[in-house]
Symmetry: C2
Subunit: 719 residues, 2 copies
C-alpha cells in the first residue's frame, strides 16, 4: 500500500548546521541500561532504530567526567578512550544505516551522586539534590568553572572522535548543570554567573562558545532545552522557567550558538511531565508549553510528546510548532515506526501504550529496559532478536495449539505464525481475545493500554497460518484430541479469592470472594459483581490494579478507603513516573489513603487494620472489600497435561509449554516476553529453558571472540 | 610486642573435611559490588584479607544460574566458563597467600528478581517476595526440582574448576531456596517436599547428596545455616525456625553430609538482625541464638557477631559456642585484623563501628562498597591502594599544615604521616580532636562510632612526624605565616541556622537559631543550648542526625514530634538495616512521627506543617524546634586563602586543598575517603583532581593490557 502524500513532509531532509537529517524522525536521548559499558547492547539497540528509518539516533545522557557519575543508574560516558572505542561502535553502525549519530552531553551538577567515582559533585550553588543522599553539592568557584567547562570541551572532542554527528548539550529537567545555572531555584550565586538572566545564562553561553571553538563544523550542536518547568505543587514556582518568559528569552539569547533546538518541559522530581504516562497525558501534551519556540529562533526545532500518530506529526509540523518529530518511547515500542509510515503500513505500527515500564528499569538502576509492546527491545544484541524479522522454525512442519489469548498467548501465536509454523490455533474460552487486557484498559486512565490487544489482533488477522478461536474451552482431553504436535498453555491467572498475600503467606481470615461483601478485581470488572457504598480496597500489588480499582469506584460515587502495607500508594509507580500525580489525585478524589497498615481480618461491615510499626488497631467500616492481594496462576490444565507423559506421547504431542501468567503472574511486559521468547526458541534443543544470552562484562584473558553472538548462543552461558 | 599466649588458640589450624583451615579466621560471604563481572576488584579485594591473615575468604552470594538473577543488586555468578575464569583469578590470589577460597552457592528461589535474565523465578511454593516486584514465584514441580538440583551440581563443579576449596551452600536468611524449602512460612507443599520436617529438609538433603557425589573430596562442603529466624514483629512466627526446635534438628539431620557449619540468625526482611548495626546490637549478639549448635554436630562450627575483640573471640571458642571466628564487616574495616592479633599489635586494629554503610551500597545496588573506617576498601584494585602500606611521597620534603581534626583532617594527617612527609601539623580549634565525631557518638546507640576517633588518635600519637595541636585557631594570616609548603583545609560544616534545605532551596520563615526557641544539633550537643518541653525535630537529612536528636530528647523526658517530608523515618537507614527497629522504637518511645509533611514556618510556640500531597495544614505546638535541614560547609578560611594566589606564593605555599565536609558535607565515610585520597595523591600532578581509576567493563577490541593498573593510572581514564 502506497503512502498517503500528506505524510511526505515527514520524509523531507532538513539541514542541522553542517549535517543533513535525512527525514524528520529523531530518536531523542533515552536510557536503555547499556551505557558505555555494554557496547554490543548499545550499538545494536540504537542501530535497529536507524534500520527502522529514524534519521538521527541519540545515546542516553552521556556523562562528561567522573564527578558526573550517576551509578546506580546507568548512563553513557565519555570519560576516556575506552568510552570512545565503545560508543564508536554505535556511531559506525548508525552510519552504516544512513542515520546521524547524536550524543547527549551531560554534567549532573548537584544531582551527580558519585557513588562509583566518589568525586564530590559541583554545582552552581551548594544545594541538595532529590537524587543524591545527604549532601549539598559543592558551589563552584572560578577555578571549578574553568575546569568543568574544559570537561565539556574534552568530552565533546571525544564525541567527535567517536564519530558522533550531533552534540546535544543537555540543559533540561534541571538534571543538567546548564539548566541548574539558568534556574534561580538552583542558582543562588551573587557573582557574574548568578542574579540577572544574562548572568544565569553565562555558564551555558561560555560552554557553547568553547565547544563550538573546539569542534568547528565537525559536528552539529543542539541544546536539549527544558523551556518550561510548569506550575506544579511543590515545584519550582517562579524560580523555575516558563516558556513565555525566560524560556523564549534563552532561545533568543543562545540562538547564534546552536544548530537545532530540542525542546521539552518538566523538572527532575516530576519528569513524568515530560516522559508522561498515558494515564494522565495525551499525545503532544507538551504542545501548549512549547508552541511559541519557533517564533524566537532561526534554527530547526524538535519536540517530543509520545508521537505515534502520523497525522499528529504532520499537524505539529504544519502548524509551526516544530520541524522535527522527537521520540523516545514510540521508538522503543516500534523501532520501525518511520519505515512503516513511509511504506503506508500504518496498521503495522506497534504503538507505545505510555505505561513507562521502559523507564521503570532505569529508575530501579541496572537492568536493561523492557517494553510492554516490543518484546525484542533490549534483546537485539544479547539474544540476537530483530523486531520485524523472523526465521522459519526448524520444526515449522508442526502444528501448534496455543490455549489462552491473553498477552502471552497472543504474542506467542503471532510470532509462531511469523516463524512459519504450519498451523497455529489460538484458542480462547472468553468471547474475545485479550485475557486480562479485556478489563485492565477499562481502569481509569489506562485506555491506551488496549493497544496491546489491537496490535496483535491486526497481526493475527493477517497471518494465514494462524487461526483464532474464541468462546472455545478446551479441557485436557480436548487438548489431547486436538491433533497439534506442540501445545502451549497460556491460561493466565486470577486475583486470589481468599486474600492470600506475600506479607503473611496465608489467606486473610474472613476473606472469601464467594461472599457478597468480598470481591476481586475480575469479579467487578468482568462479572459485574456489585459493590456497596463503603468500599475498602486492600492493595498488596504495588502497581496499577489497586489504585485503579480505588479510582474507578470513587468516580462511581463510592466512599473508598485504600489500604496498603507499603509506604506509598502503588510504590512501583515511583519507577513509572506516575507516582506524584497518582498520590495527589487519589486524595483529591476523596479517597481515604491508609498507608503502612495490614488488614487483620474481614468481617461483614467492618475491617480491622493493624499499623505495621505499632500493631495499633483501627476498624474501617466497609460494605465491600476489594481484594488486590496476590495473583494465582490458572495452571490446572497444564498440570493435568504434564502429569501424564504417556498420554502426551500417544497424542503425538512432542512439546508442552507454559507461558505468561499461568507460569508466573508478572508484568504485562513479562507475559508478552514469555510468549515471544518461547516462539523464538520453539526449535531450540529445550524450548522450556531460555537459551543463554551474551553477558557483556570484562573477561580475564578475553578476546573479542568471547563476545560473538555465535559462541555465546551456543553455550557460553549455561541456562 | 609479642602476642599474649591466650590468643594462641585463634591460630591453631583446624580440619574442614578434606581441607585444612590454617587458623580460626574465616571471612564469611559478604557483598562488595564486584560480583563476577569485575574480576580485578573481586580478586584484589579478597586477596587483601588473605594477606592480612584470614585463613579462608569467601565470595559474596554466588548465583548458580540465570533464573537466580538479583540485578539490580550485585552478586557473584557461576553461570558459565567466563565466570569460572573470572572467579578463578580470586582463587589463585588467595592460594598465593596460603588461604582457602570459599564460595557461597546461591539460588534465590522466590527472591530472585530476574530483572536482567527475565527468567521466571522458581520456588518451593507460589509465594511472593518482599524483594521481587509484583509476582509470586513459580511453584516447582518435579521436573523443576530435578532441573534446579542439577543447576546446583553444575555450579559446584564450576566452583571446583575455578579453584574453590570450600563450597558453602546457602541456607539462611530465607534468601536462599534451601532455607525456603525448610521453613513452613515459605513451603506450603503437600508432596514429599512439604509438610513434615523430613519432607521440608528433603530438598536440601538431595542437593547435598548430589553435590557430594559430584565433587567427592575435591572441596569441603559447608552449609551457611540460619538456625533461628527469631521472634520479630510481623516476622515468621512459628512458621520460621528456632534454634532449640528444628534448628538443631536440621543440624543433626544433615550432619553426615557437611564438613562445617556456618551458623547465623535472622530473616530476609530484617537481616539487620544478622548483619546487626551497633546502634542496637553488641558484639556476639547471636550467641544466645546459636549456642546449642555444637552439642548437635561432630563438625566444626563457625559463628559471626561482628567480632573485633580478640578476647571475645577466645571466649566464644573456649566456651564451646563455636570453633571458627566468622566475620564480614570486621574484615572490611580491617583486612589485617588476624595479623595484628597474631603480632600482638592490638592497638593497631581498625575496629568496625557497625554503621553498615558498607551494606548500604549493596542495598542501593551497583556501586562498590565503602567503609567508614577503611578508606581503602574497594580501592585495592581500581586505585591500587593497600590499607597498611604507604609509599613515601615524592614531595615528602614538604611540611603540611592540616587545619581541622575531624574525620577528614585526622585521616589526611595520618596518611600523610605514613607517607613520610617531613612534618605534618594537625591543628584544631576545639579542645579535642574529632570534629563532628565529638558529639555524634553521644547520640543514642552510636557510641561505637567513636572508634573513628580512637583509631586515628592512636595512630597519630605513634607517628613521629605528625604533631596534633588542639585549642588552636588559625586565621588566613596565621596560615600564611605558619611556614608549611602544603596547606589542607578540613574545617568541616555545621547545620544550617536558618532552616535552609533542598526541598525549597530557601531558608524557612522564622527559622533562626540565634533565637531561644530554634536550635541546631551542634547547639544542643556541643553548646548545651536548652530545649523546651515540647520539641519538634524537622528532619531533612534522611540519616542518623534527626532520629538521633529525637530519640535523645524523648529519652530526656521531652515531648517530641518528628517531622519529615519523606515517606519514612530516616530513609537512608533502609540501606543500613537500621530502619525496621528504628521505625518501631521511635514510636514505642512515644515520639509523634509525622511523615510526608513540610514545615511551613516557625513561630514561637507553634509550627504550621503542610501535607506534601494535599497541602492541608496542621499546627504542632512546640517550645523548641530542632533544625536538621542541611549542612553548610565552613569554607570561609579556604575561600579567603584561595582568593589571594600572590599571598600563597609569597608564603611559599605550593599546594592549597580542601577536604571533607568543608568541601562537601557528606557521609562520614566520604569525609574519611576525601582526606585519605588527597594524602595518597599529594604528589600527583594535580592533587586537587582525583587520579583516574580502572573501570572494569567490556572494551571492544580490548586486550588485558587495557586493564593493567599502570596503563589505567597513567591516563586510560581522564579525570
Amino acid at each position: 500500500m502506497a503512502r498517503d502524500p500528506k505524510y511526505d513532509i515527514l520524509f523531507e531532509p532538513i539541514q542541522i548546521g553542517p549535517k543533513v537529517l535525512p527525514n524528520r524522525f529523531f530518536q531523542v536521548a533515552h536510557c536503555n541500561g547499556a551505557g558505555s559499558e555494554r557496547p554490543g547492547f548499545q550499538s545494536h539497540f540504537r542501530a535497529m532504530k536507524a534500520e527502522g528509518g529514524w534519521g538521527a539516533v541519540c545515546t542516553e545522557y552521556c556523562s562528561i567526567g567522573p564527578e558526573s557519575d550517576d551509578v546506580h543508574r546507568v548512563s553513557a560516558r565519555l570519560w576516556d578512550d575506552g568510552d570512545v572505542r565503545n560508543l564508536g561502535l554505535m556511531c559506525d553502525m548508525l552510519h552504516d544505516q544512513g542515520a546521524l549519530a547524536a550524543v547527549e552531553i551531560w554534567h549532573g551538577g548537584l544531582n551527580a551522586c558519585g557513588l562509583e567515582s566518589r568525586v564530590p559533585a559541583r554545582g552552581a550553588s551548594a544545594i541538595g539534590s532529590p537524587f543524591a543522599f545527604m549532601r549539598p553539592c559543592k558551589e563552584m568557584d572560578k577555578q571549578d568553572i574553568r575546569e568543568v567547562q574544559q570537561m565539556y570541551v574534552d568530552a565533546c572532542k571525544r564525541a567527535r572522535d567517536a564519530g558522533f554527528d550531533i552534540l546535544v548539550l543537555y540543559c533540561a529537567h534541571n538534571e543538567a548543570l546548564l539548566h541548574q545555572f539558568l534556574l534561580p531555584f538552583f542558582n543562588r550565586r551573587t557573582d557574574e554567573y548568578g542574579g540577572s538572566f544574562e548572568n544565569r545564562a553565562r555558564f551555558s553561553r561560555e560552554v557553547l562558545e568553547q565547544v563550538r571553538e573546539a569542534i568547528g563544523d565537525d559536528c552539529a550542536i543542539s541544546i536539549r532545552f527544558g523551556v518550561d518547568t510548569l506550575d506544579l505543587p511543590h515545584g519550582l514556582g517562579d524560580r523555575g522557567i516558563r516558556q513565555e518568559g525566560e524560556g523564549v528569552q534563552f532561545i533568543e539569547h543562545m540562538d547564534d550558538l546552536v544548530d537545532m533546538w530540542d525542546i521539552n518541559v518538566g523538572w527532575a522530581v516530576e519528569w513524568g511531565e515530560d516522559a508522561a504516562p498515558s494515564r494522565t497525558h495525551a499525545e503532544n501534551h507538551e504542545g501548549p508549553f512549547v508552541d511559541k519556540v519557533k517564533q524566537h529562533t532561526k534554527k530547526p526545532v524538535l519536540n517530543v510528546g509520545r508521537f505515534v500518530n502520523p497525522d499528529t506529526m504532520v499537524e505539529v509540523i504544519e502548524s509551526g510548532q516544530c520541524d522535527i518529530i522527537g521520540a523516545a518511547r514510540p521508538s522503543i515500542a516500534d523501532p520501525f515506526l518511520p519505515q512503516k509510515i513511509k511504506e503506508g503500513r500504518l496498521d503495522d505500527i506497534r504503538e507505545c501504550i505510555g505505561c513507562n515500564v521502559c523507564i521503570s528499569r532505569w529508575e530501579i538502576g541496572g537492568p536493561p529496559l523492557v517494553c510492554t509492546q516490543n518484546a525484542t527491545s533490549g534483546e537485539e544484541y544479547r539474544r540476537g532478536w530483530h523486531p520485524e524479522k523472523f526465521t522459519t522454525a526448524a520444526n515449522a512442519d508442526n502444528d501448534v495449539l496455543v490455549i489462552g489469548a491473553g498477552p502471552a498467548g497472543m504474542e506467542c501465536a503471532m510470532v509462531l505464525g511469523k516463524r512459519g509454523m504450519r498451523r497455529v490455533h489460538l484458542v480462547e474460552s472468553a468471547p474475545e481475545i485479550g485475557g486480562q487486557m479485556r478489563w485492565v484498559p477499562k481502569l481509569p486512565g489506562l485506555g491506551e493500554w488496549g493497544r496491546v490487544v489491537n496490535y496483535r489482533q491486526i497481526q493475527l488477522d493477517k497471518l494465514k497460518n494462524v487461526e483464532v478461536m474464541t468462546g472455545t474451552t478446551l479441557d485436557a482431553e480436548g487438548v489431547l484430541e486436538y491433533g497439534a504436535e506442540i501445545v502451549v498453555v497460556a491460561t493466565g491467572s486470577h486475583w486470589a479469592h481468599d486474600g492470600f498475600q506475600g506479607l503473611t503467606n496465608e489467606p486473610i481470615p474472613g476473606a472469601d470472594a464467594s461472599l457478597e461483601h468480598v470481591v476481586t478485581p475480575e469479579q467487578v470488572m468482568l462479572e459485574g459483581k456489585s459493590v456497596g457504598q463503603r468500599v475498602l480496597v486492600y492493595d498488596c500489588e504495588t502497581y496499577f490494579t489497586g489504585v485503579g480499582m480505588a479510582e474507578k469506584l470513587v468516580r462511581e460515587g463510592k466512599d473508598v478507603t485504600y489500604v496498603t502495607a507499603f509506604d506509598g500508594v502503588a510504590p512501583y509507580t515511583r519507577y513509572t513516573l506516575e507516582y506524584p500525580r497518582l498520590s495527589r489525585s487519589l486524595r483529591e478524589l476523596g479517597i481515604d489513603v491508609v498507608l503502612e497498615h495490614v488488614v487483620v481480618s474481614i468481617e461483614p461491615g467492618s475491617v480491622p487494620l493493624a499499623d505495621i510499626w505499632t500493631d495499633e488497631e483501627r476498624v474501617v467500616e466497609a460494605d465491600t472489600v476489594v481484594l488486590v492481594t496476590q495473583r494465582v496462576p490458572d495452571d490446572a490444565l497444564y498440570q493435568q497435561l504434564a502429569a501424564d507423559e504417556d498420554a502426551l506421547a500417544d497424542a503425538g504431542i512432542n512439546g508442552l509449554y507454559q507461558i505468561g501468567d499461568c507460569l508466573l503472574p508478572s508484568l504485562i511486559a513479562e507475559a508478552v516476553f514469555s510468549g515471544h521468547r518461547l516462539a523464538r526458541e520453539i526449535d531450540s534443543p529445550n524450548p522450556r529453558v531460555p537459551l543463554p544470552y551474551i553477558r557483556e562484562r570484562r573477561l580475564v584473558n578475553a578476546t573479542e571472540e568471547d563476545f560473538r553472538l555465535d559462541s555465546a548462543a551456543t553455550g557460553a552461558v549455561a541456562g
